[in-house]
Amino acid sequence: MEELKAKTFDSSKVCTPTHTAMNTLTMKNYVAAVIGLCLVAPVPRAWTADELTGTLKKIKDAGFISVGHRESSIPFSYYDDKNEVVGYSQELVMMVVDAVKKKLNLPNLAVKLIPVTSQNRIPLIQNGTIDIESGSTTNNVERQQQVSFSDTMFIIGTRLLVKKDSGIKDFPDLKGKNVVVTAGTTSERLIREMNEKNSMGMNIISAKDHGESFLTLQSGRAAAFMLDDALLAGERAKARKPDDWVIVGTPQSKEAYGMMMRKGDDQFKKLADETIAKAETSGEAAKLYQKWFQSPIPPKGLNLDLVLSNDMKELFKNPNDKAFQ
């Protein structure tokens, strides 16, 4: 590498038209090497056990870790009444942060909490603004081409939130009705497919975020709101009269929520995976589940009352990072 650089610094020689075939070759090599370097640069040169690479090195050099969180994904990641970030995913990611502190031997490592949306979370991971995102992000194959996912934190099913007296019991009852989904969610894709395939004549409204979707449902614009069941329970908890709303319908899909990290950063992913797996097998995650899904939670002290599904029980026994789609 050094030799190569030294040669190419003398660019006048290399670039004159009179130079020999040997020089042309050097030029070619140089170009190839530069391209090669650029492609290889983000990948660590040596794989020794202790050498820090990728995100962990970045964290150590910068002296802080940036954690992306959501603002209103109840009860995964959201602001409570004291404007602090809380939730099931938030507690899990703080465990990962603790593991990072331990690994880097930096007990006072600063933690930057950065709110993200479903639109900007992937670009912010990619451009390095945040090091890890933990909220309610589904691990799927498309996203895996852009980012990598940790072991699964949660498994949800996509269902419907409707008014108790609406008479809607399941998806076939939605024929000819207005249905709201949050833009960009898997539910949006599923309901549009269902509408097309079964010619159900639904009008599908895609709202900007879950709060707006629920507002659309509450204001009577839509008869049903399709989303991940856990998030629906969270939205219901925010309603003026939570008892007026029920979650119904056969789950249309399962989704695995994971933490998001930059792609190809095996060292950091391994640390996150180990932390999550340990929490899940040790019973810590089950305790967190109880705390966030079966007990009163801020801001209103409402109990989401969501039964631990068989998929979740299976996950806690065998932690993995498999995507369902």
């Binding site: 992937i122 833009a183 707006e212």
Partner: protein, 249 residues
């Protein structure tokens, strides 16, 4: 950075869209159409409202200019996004019969379009009104007085003397307002209208190819705006009065 740029995959636009409507290119073009339709309809409303309010502000007396001033201050000073939420979420709730009909009788897409047109039209109308007012005021009092002295009534003075010149003078700032309305039309994405910026967000969301999506959508907005600028130059040239202010010789 290099790997990231090299990683762009433009074939994404030829893959089938998540909603089964065709390719993602078609998907973006649907958004492109809604953006055009929304911007142009809202612009027509803004132009009509702005002209009326702008003229009111230059009328003699206190009442009519006062009403115009209140309109301009209210619509210009309330943030666009807030106005949109007022039109879409709040207004139907406070008008009992009509509101329920609007919410439940109309196709959701039409609701979003109507709310978007009203919001952008009345907001931009306030800005157009200021351009019209300044255009009229730039003409000097003599013209109005001369018109009245000739026996024309006030409407005729505006119609035949003041406005034809005032509009010509304000073509450049009106072009800016039109360009603004196109860019501002992206706020309609927040209530779910499937316009260009919404489609690009959706594309990013479902394919995770955010950068390709943002680049394509930037080019499409650019295309609209450049077209508007060219058309506006053309209009300016065709309507140009020889030797008059604002026009090239």
């Amino acid at each position: 950075m290099v790997t990231f740029v090299a990683g762009l995959d433009w074939n994404i636009f030829f893959q089938p869209a998540f909603d089964g409507s065709g390719t993602y290119l078609r998907f973006l073009l649907v958004g492109f159409q809604w953006t055009l339709l929304l911007s142009i309809t809202a612009w027509i409303l803004a132009f009509v409202v702005g002209s009326i309010v702008g003229v009111l502000r230059t009328f003699p007396g206190k009442l009519l200019p006062g009403i115009g001033a209140v309109y301009v201050e209210v619509f210009r000073n309330v943030p666009l996004l807030v106005q949109l939420f007022l039109w879409y979420f709040v207004l139907p709730e406070i008008i009992p019969g009509l509101g329920t009909w609007f919410k439940q009788g109309l196709n959701p897409l039409l609701q979003q379009f109507v709310a978007g047109v009203l919001c952008l039209g009345f907001f931009t109308g306030a800005r157009v009104a200021e351009q019209v007012r300044s255009g009229i005021n730039s003409l000097g009092r003599g013209q109005r007085g001369a018109g009245l002295a000739l026996g024309l009534n006030l409407v005729q003075v505006y119609q035949l003397i003041l406005l034809p010149v005032a509009y010509r003078i304000i073509i450049p700032p009106l072009t800016s307002e039109f360009l603004n309305i196109i860019k501002n039309s992206a706020v309609a994405s927040t209530i779910g209208l499937v316009e260009l910026s919404r489609q690009s967000q959706q594309l990013g969301e479902f394919t995770a190819h955010w950068y390709e999506s943002f680049i394509a959508v930037t080019l499409l907005y650019g295309l609209i705006n450049v077209t508007v600028m060219i058309v506006s130059r053309f209009v300016e040239r065709v309507t140009h009065l020889p030797g008059y202010v604002g026009g090239r010789q």
